[in-house]
């Protein structure tokens, strides 16, 4: 194992992982109602297959993939479809969703299904099985996994990078998965290596998870050309480009994908999920969610059916404390604050972080004092100070031309360090959104 592997710049917020890192994953009982948005992944939303009044079994497909960059969605509990309509989405917006009233006293046994035998499948069939299982990146971005497994012929892939960095503060889902199910992770790695046809796999884990590093190193199959690497604890170490830089020393060119430098990055949770498809035949209908933060009474790691409402999860976790100010789906650096606790946990929700008035950002904003701390924090080597002053006057196109706005991945490191509390990353997100809208308008006209 090497030491001191990392990228340049970045920040180190307090980790607060100890709240839940020692709590084993526990299955949460089925809630009364499940809400499954049709848009749970990047790409095109799934196409609806059910109608109100339909009865579904656990694991049944309720919406199918709409094109290549899309995945199907499966019922995560047996019950009756009671509504189809707009519902709060954990990314903070509204989305069309299927509501399923969960059948009481149901054994929740899925229909008998064929378990794919991975040894006999060729890569194409493995990839098809992954898409059929509705697998998306479980690290937060929710990008359909099978798309990453089909690189164009002219871009050879050398290395499968398994992302166990989990650099967001508070979150411990990947950590617990690695500690409790290391064999499953390795099984998933084996399948992925076959699907990609790569010779080498590297698991990158931040050093603050020694037990996870130990578990994976202990269970590593001897016949696999794979290694476990300890990474420096720094945010955003788990961003694809930063992980590739840290492990392989390569820089993904601007606007290009990791495959252009011979790497495919998959989150450990995603890999464990793929392993499960080939173990049980069950599609992605449940996931591990860290419920944590100083505002929740019983922090822990829960295995919940996809579509469980945040409200139910919080109730199961002992409720919230009095001084709660923010409920965040995902990590506190990149997650979305929730206006409505009826929003469900979708495939891409890594955690529910409950912050109190002590952690929430102060509201006083001061003028930029040009301290340059944001430049030292930006892992992409951008100039957030310049971009911020352009954003304040809505000069969005200039942000692209002069400051490479599109290279910003909205990691939030600049906003985190800014002593003047200027909402830099927040403004950059707005700028990207406005530019995107403008472009859609132009292409429509």
């Amino acid at each position: 194992m090497w030491d001191k592997l990392t990228f340049s710049h970045g920040v180190h917020p307090p980790e607060h992982k100890d709240l839940s890192s020692g709590v084993p994953i526990r299955r949460m009982p089925f809630p009364e109602e499940i809400v499954l948005p049709l848009r749970q992944h990047a790409g095109k939303p799934a196409k609806l297959l059910v109608r109100v009044g339909d009865r579904v079994e656990r694991g049944d497909k309720i919406a199918e993939a709409d094109g290549f960059v899309s995945v199907p969605i499966h019922a995560s509990a047996a019950g009756e479809v009671v509504g189809i309509g707009w519902w709060p989405h954990p990314d903070g917006s509204m989305a069309e969703a299927v509501r399923i009233k969960v059948e009481k006293f149901s054994p929740q046994i899925p229909r008998p299904r064929v378990i794919p035998r991975w040894e006999g499948l060729d890569p194409q069939q493995v990839v098809a099985a992954v898409q059929k299982g509705g697998v998306v990146g479980l690290g937060g971005a929710a990008f359909p996994t099978h798309v990453k497994l089909l690189p164009p012929k002219d871009t050879p892939i050398e290395t499968l990078l398994v992302n166990g960095a989990e650099c967001e503060p508070y979150l411990t889902t990947d950590h617990r998965t690695m500690v409790e199910y290391p064999e499953r992770v390795w099984f998933g790695v084996r399948i992925m290596m076959k699907a990609l046809g790569v010779e080498r796999a590297v698991v990158g884990i931040e050093k603050n998870k020694p037990d996870a590093i130990e578990a994976l190193a202990r269970t590593r199959p001897d016949d696999l050309n794979a290694e476990v690497i300890a990474l420096t604890v720094k945010y955003p170490q788990g961003a694809e480009k930063m992980l590739i830089k840290a492990v392989m020393g390569r820089e993904v060119p601007s606007g290009k994908l990791p495959m252009h430098v011979g790497a495919v990055v998959q989150n450990v949770g995603t890999i464990a999920c793929i392993a499960e498809i080939f173990e049980t035949g069950l599609p992605l209908i449940e996931r591990v969610v860290t419920v944590t933060g100083p505002g929740v009474n019983r922090p822990g790691n829960l295995l919940v059916p996809v579509g469980t409402k945040i409200r139910d999860i919080l109730a199961f976790s002992g409720g919230m404390k009095e001084n709660v100010t923010e409920v965040i789906s995902g990590g506190p650096m990149m997650g979305a604050a929730q206006p409505d606790l009826d929003a469900p946990v979708t495939k891409g929700v890594t955690g529910i972080v409950i912050l109190t008035d002590k952690e929430s950002r102060a509201r006083d904003v001061y003028p930029c004092i040009r301290c340059g701390h944001c430049l030292d924090a930006c892992p992409m080597f951008l100039n957030p100070s310049l971009m911020g002053s352009l954003a304040q006057t809505a000069r969005y196109q200039e942000m692209v031309d002069r400051a490479n706005l599109w290279d910003c991945m909205l990691c939030g490191a600049c906003s985190y360090v800014c002593p003047s509390n200027i909402p830099l990353s927040q403004m950059f997100g707005l700028a990207k959104y406005q530019l995107g809208r403008l472009r859609r308008k132009e292409s429509a006209a």
Binding site: A315, V327, P339, P419, G429
Partner: protein, 346 residues
């Protein structure tokens, strides 16, 4: 209903902000007041050497700076601490016997024309304290170069502190002594390094005790409240440049350690050049900026008409900061030099 298990209805008070939701504990006022706090030992030393006059001069310049900020600054901008820093720093680079009304005017001028006319905190190209001092140097060249000796009785006034505007008051009997730089420039005499380090020499209030300034500035550097590359770069440049000169001709040029510890170099390098607003945002830029100051200091001191050049060197380099920033932008991650134009992405 499961939601009734929650004892309260929290949605009413949930914050809805965009990510990131965390913030480092540093804040602009915290940085500013930390700078003020770090100046306390320097102020104490100044009072030790120059007596009540030191307190009065600093108070006058602080009042001038803070008063103008309060009158004309943005709402609440007084509490961010930046005006207080300007006042203290200006006071620290004035001689002890300086007339109080002049110090007051200098503080006010620095804030008004060094900062507020540009739009307040963060907008000024030049260090406001140095703008104030440059103004005083131009307006009152005699008063600002009258250096009382540290050897006087502690409680005595060190000069015409209480003189009144437009009147030439009768100055009390004051023992004056030239600054080490003046001694070297006009009499070719090099002050003993030990005196420069502990500060019992002539000079401005806060610039004499080099070791104290180094420690105070070091504290700020450790907390990342100043970019250590700037003082390091200035010291390095001054040292190397004057070492070369000294090796060429030890008779005509001062020794490098004398250059480092004399005059306002310590205070200027650690507290004025490192002003975040008026120094480059990039680290490479900080080195260039520092090297520029170092070269200018030596040039002015050795070949200029004035014995001291730190103030003008910093102001001069302040003017280049926007250019330095533009020229030293780091290479963006994933952009390679051979790429001619960055690709327009949908």
């Amino acid at each position: 209903m499961t939601d009734r298990n929650l004892q309260m209805d929290p949605e009413d008070r949930l914050l809805l902000t965009a990510s990131p939701h965390l913030k480092s504990p540093d804040s602009t006022p915290k940085i500013m007041w930390n700078v003020v706090g770090s100046l306390v030992p320097i102020i104490v030393v100044a009072v030790y050497y120059f007596g009540p006059s030191a307190i009065m001069v600093m108070l006058a310049s602080i009042l001038g700076a803070v008063g103008v900020e309060w009158l004309f600054g943005k709402k609440k901008s007084l509490w961010d601490g930046s005006a207080a820093i300007t006042g203290i720093l200006l006071g620290l680079c004035l001689p002890a016997g300086f007339p109080l009304w002049m110090a007051f005017v200098g503080g006010g001028f620095g804030i008004a024309f060094g900062k507020l006319v540009f739009g307040g905190l963060g907008q000024n190209p030049f260090n406001p304290a140095l703008v104030g001092r440059a103004f005083l140097q131009a307006a009152f060249p005699t008063a600002i170069t009258t250096w009382p000796s540290t050897a006087m009785e502690w409680g005595a006034w060190r000069g015409a502190n209480l003189s009144i505007p437009l009147l030439t008051g009768e100055a009390p009997d004051v023992i004056t002594s030239a600054t080490p730089l003046g001694l070297w420039k006009f009499e070719g005499q090099v002050t003993d390094l030990w005196h420069l380090v502990i500060g019992n020499t002539g000079g401005s209030l806060g610039e004499t005790a080099g070791i104290v300034i180094l420690i105070c500035g070091g504290y700020l550097a450790l907390r990342n409240y100043l970019n250590w590359r700037i003082p390091a770069g200035i010291f390095l440049t001054v040292f190397v440049f004057s070492e070369v000169l000294y090796l060429v001709n030890g008779e005509a040029f001062p020794p490098p350690f004398f250059m480092l510890f004399s005059g306002g170099l310590m205070l200027g390098a650690l507290y004025m050049a490192t002003d975040m607003v008026t120094s480059p945002v990039t680290n490479l830029g900080a080195w260039i900026f520092a090297a520029g100051i170092g070269v200018m200091v030596v040039l002015i001191r050795v070949w200029g008409g004035l014995p001291e050049g730190v103030m003008y060197a910093i102001l001069f380099m302040n003017a280049f900061v926007p250019f330095i920033n533009r020229a030293t932008q780091p290479r963006v991650f994933g952009h390679f030099p051979e790429e001619k134009v960055k690709e327009a992405r949908a």
